[in-house]
């Protein structure tokens, strides 16, 4: 296959970037998209040029570090697929492809196609956990969990934290990411005790990190390589309203009384 690549090059967050065009004449349809970029980079290195910076690690669609806007689509044209699992057979001989970094206020560019997504970690720091220390926990089977709830929690927990939802959203919103974590924890009995506190803190944290708000475009769900549903955003909105109507220190007591 012959492919024309227009790759975004940018020195750092404060520099201007631009597209650089490369012609690849010997692309195998069995290559992954990143292996195609490897070929380009080895060629650039052999010419003594600085290769295109992009991130990848597990290359099996689970670590969430690979990103890339591929001709305007986060993780490229295939549904439910990360860039590392996208293969060149999804393109046609002679195609021209544009490759860009995630573009969002909360993800500043580090170099070329690499962005800083630590804002997502900081959202988790606002309560995306169950507050239990190592050791003092009950026996695993002492609390039963309905299979449906466990399955649903798993659907939400499948998030790989890649940030495609943010990059695909016209508002640069992290609602799907945040809602998925909230749903994962609140669907399980272990996550319930601090649910109201968690939802308020995480929503505030999301805003503080510079992520935008949701205006129901649904682009996040389309871009999500793990097919996480926006129904979790609806759940988050409902739960947030409930939690915010209650004063923090009494919220769990009141809910219990209901």
């Amino acid at each position: 296959m012959k492919i024309t690549l227009n790759v975004w090059r940018q020195r750092d967050a404060s520099s201007e970037g631009s597209f650089e065009t490369h012609q690849l004449d010997d692309v195998s349809p069995d290559m992954s998209f990143l292996e195609m970029l490897d070929v380009l980079n080895r060629r650039l290195e052999a010419e003594g040029k600085v290769p295109v910076a992009f991130e990848s690690d597990c290359r099996e669609g689970i670590c969430g570090v690979c990103s890339l806007m591929i001709s305007g689509q986060a993780h490229g044209p295939e549904s439910g697929t990360t860039t590392c699992q996208l293969h060149m057979r999804s393109f046609k001989d002679g195609d021209t492809i544009f490759v860009e970094p995630w573009r969002a206020k909360a993800f500043p560019v580090i170099r070329d196609l690499v962005t800083d997504r630590s804002s997502l970690d900081r959202v988790i720091q606002c309560g995306g956990y169950v507050s239990v220390n190592t050791g003092s926990v009950p026996e695993a089977n002492s609390v039963q969990v309905a299979k449906e709830n466990a399955d649903k929690a798993m659907d939400a927990a499948a998030c790989i934290g890649c940030g495609a939802c943010v990059a695909a959203c016209p508002n640069g919103s992290a609602m799907l990411f945040t809602a998925a974590k909230l749903a994962h924890l609140s669907l399980l009995p272990q996550g319930k005790p601090e649910h109201e506190r968690r939802i308020k803190r995480m929503v505030e944290g999301m805003d503080a990190q510079g992520f935008g708000a949701c205006t129901n475009h649904g682009e996040c769900q389309e871009a999500c390589p793990k097919l996480i549903s926006i129904e979790f955003i609806a759940k988050m909105n409902r739960d947030y309203i409930k939690a915010s109507l209650l004063p923090e220190h009494t919220s769990s007591e009141l809910l219990k009384a209901q």
């Binding site: 290769p51 597990c58 580090i110 970690d121 988790i124 089977n141 929690a153 798993m154």
Partner: protein, 637 residues
């Protein structure tokens, strides 16, 4: 080099309790005066950092990834073992202990393995409390499945993403401590060396991968949880960033490296498709619960799999190992696949593949059940190969996956350098010469949640806090060496890419120190590796600047260390004149082609001591005493 394993006296089931009582404690008010460095944020590192911070120690945590959530533990698929005996099928702590010692071909330390089996049950409790969404039955209780090398169902799982969910549990515990200010996190930061001062590990030297800036960090103890070294083979199931640098650099500073030749080649991976390939993808071992492995009975049978009738198929695992069948341990299953392919019965391009067939299971349970069990794996397979495994059998072939070898540690998980602790895959581990499926997650979390938080206290209690800072001359000396090495690397302006050196090294290692090894091949490798290394330092190309975001330099540093470490692996493989577990020396096999151990001469861990650049390392041994499990020829028939 003194190898005192510090195994507590007394009956095996009492050792850990007794040891915990005998260890010195740091009182709660004093814990905050001690600082601990943890390198790596996989299951072992993240759980250790979080748990030690909960106790009150000041923790600094480092990872090369942009977020601690991305460590390679995340990619583990199948599950985690625990001796809960929820299935009422005869499991017990003793059985898990026994299976693990036997599965490791009697090359692990009994006391450590027993403790691992003991704490396995606490791990599940802990993870459930954290909100890990394990698979459940309709009654709301936890579900289990079976895994290779065991005849009980003791594996807990979260779809095909168990590693991800366990890691997110540990990551979230870590983030909680970060937000509480008890852990200071350094993501995108790679450890390049250990600082030893006054006979103790006192800190590390790191490179900020975003800026290229070198800094050093002092502490009262250093914990390495930096994973394995399978990418020494270039193609492996590991993440492309996994590397040996942290453990290899620690070895050069005096930490003994144990059994570097013990590597696991996993039987069920997607075969290589071409020269462009950058990594191999594992298909979870859990697939062997329902999939049947076979090759055609006729050499070079060109018919599509579905047209080969039952009578013309050789279900070679079921034939050779009737009682374990498709659930034979990994080393056995991998070797059997290699044997069939070498004999000319392999399928797919180059004859390097065997079938993993779900037709029977789909007929028995229906497509829906199989989809629920393995849906994400089937999808992944289809995405990579463009073949639909619901309709045609998968093609699989073994690939490098896990390192049983690693830095030697005593019962407290401390290396031969006082104050330097090693956890998870990075240590020489409890898996002996072969790890059983679903045991890596168990060991990583056992080390991190339950063992190091106890044992590190004993070390710290014996040493006053502080007493050294980053201004000490020892830090300056190591920083200087690190800088010089980076200067040398960044000035390489030769003609060959770093990647091409890595590929060539990988081929040498796969051919000569892979699934089958022999003295002649290993001697050849020991000739070729130094020559390749010399060429690397003359002719490699490294682009960009040192003090900058520079992926070219990152890779070059890792490959340079692999080029040294590979030699140690081959040396270890050559010196171990027996076959055991994943270490298969072709000269030492039974008439049936099984691994032939030599317990008379090799019932020990081989521990290598660095003796300076250009000098041969020295081989020491830690004898292994089996008081509970009788040494036998391993049989899965």
């Amino acid at each position: 080099m003194e190898l005192n394993a510090r195994i507590p006296a007394g009956p095996i089931e009492k050792k850990w309790d007794k040891h915990r009582f005998e260890m010195k404690l740091v009182n709660p008010a004093n814990k905050r005066k001690y600082s601990v460095i943890v390198v790596g944020t996989g299951l072992a590192g993240a759980s250790a950092a979080a748990s030690m911070a909960e106790l009150g120690y000041q923790v600094k945590s480092f990872c090369y990834q942009d977020s601690p959530r991305r460590a390679h533990s995340i990619a583990a698929q199948g599950g985690i073992n625990a001796a809960k005996n929820y299935q009422n099928d005869g499991d017990s702590i003793y059985r898990l202990f026994y299976d693990t010692v036997k599965g490791g071909d009697f090359r692990a330390r009994e006391a450590n393995v027993y403790r691992l089996a003991q704490v396995s049950v606490n791990i599940i409790d802990q993870c459930v409390a954290q909100g890990v969404p394990f698979a459940r039955e309709y009654g709301g209780l936890l579900a289990n499945r079976s895994f290779g090398g065991a005849q009980v169902s003791r594996t807990f799982y979260a779809r095909g993403q168990t590693g991800q969910q366990l890691l997110l549990g540990a990551y979230q515990a870590l983030e909680r401590q970060i937000s509480a200010g008890r852990v200071k996190m350094f993501p995108h930061t790679e450890m390049l060396d250990v600082v030893v001062a006054g006979g103790r590990a006192r800190g590390i030297v790191v490179r900020d991968l975003k800026t290229g800036r070198i800094t050093s960090h002092a502490a009262d103890a250093v914990v390495l949880a930096t994973g394995g070294y399978s990418p020494v083979y270039y193609l492996s199931t590991n993440a492309v960033g996994c590397n040996v640098t942290a453990t290899y650099r620690a070895y050069r500073r005096g930490a003994g490296f144990a059994n570097p030749a013990f590597t696991q080649i996993h039987p069920t991976c997607i075969p290589v498709s071409g020269d462009h390939q950058s990594k191999l993808t594992l298909m979870s071992e859990s697939l062997r619960n329902d999939g049947r492995i076979w090759v055609p009975k006729e050499k070079g049978d060109g018919r599509p799999a579905n047209q080969i009738p039952e009578s013309d198929r050789d279900y070679y695992l079921e034939r050779r190992y009737p009682s374990f069948g498709n659930l034979s341990p990994r080393d056995v299953a991998s070797r059997a696949a290699k044997e069939r392919c070498d004999a000319g019965y392999g399928v797919g391009p180059g004859g390097l593949g065997v079938y993993l067939d779900f037709a029977d299971a789909i007929q028995r349970h229906g497509r829906k059940v199989i989809e629920e069990r393995y849906g994400n794996l089937f999808e992944m397979y289809q995405r990579i190969t463009d073949e639909n495994p619901y309709e045609v059998p998968m093609r699989i072939y073994p690939a490098p996956h896990y390192a049983m070898g690693g830095l030697w540690v005593d019962y407290n998980l401390m290396s031969t350098v006082p104050g330097l602790f090693v956890l998870g895959e990075a240590n020489f581990s409890d898996h002996g010469a072969n790890r059983l499926g679903a045991s890596a997650l168990m060991q990583g979390l056992a080390d991190g949640y339950f063992i190091i938080p106890n044992t590190i206290g004993d070390f710290l209690a014996r040493n006053a806090p502080g007493g050294i800072s980053e201004d000490a001359p020892e830090f300056a000396a190591v920083t200087d060496e690190v800088q010089q090495r980076l200067n040398r690397l960044v000035s390489l302006k030769g003609r060959r890419t770093v990647d091409s050196f890595h590929r060539e090294l990988g081929k040498i290692m796969w051919d000569r120190c892979g699934m089958g090894r022999n003295a002649q091949g290993l001697r050849e490798a020991l000739q070729r590796i130094p020559a390749l290394r010399e060429e690397f330092w003359k002719d490699a190309i490294v682009t960009g600047e040192k003090e900058d975001y520079n992926q070219s330099l990152e890779r070059a540093g890792r490959v340079a260390d692999f080029l040294e470490f590979a030699e140690l692996m081959c040396l270890d493989a050559l010196n171990r004149e027996e076959s055991c577990g994943g270490h298969f020396r072709e000269e030492y096999q039974t008439a049936e082609g099984e691994a032939q151990r030599d317990d008379q001469n090799f019932c020990h861990a081989a521990v290598w001591e660095f003796k300076g650049a250009g000098n041969a390392p020295q081989r020491h041994i830690e004898p292994l005493n089996f008081e509970y499990v009788q040494l036998t020829q391993r049989s899965y028939k």
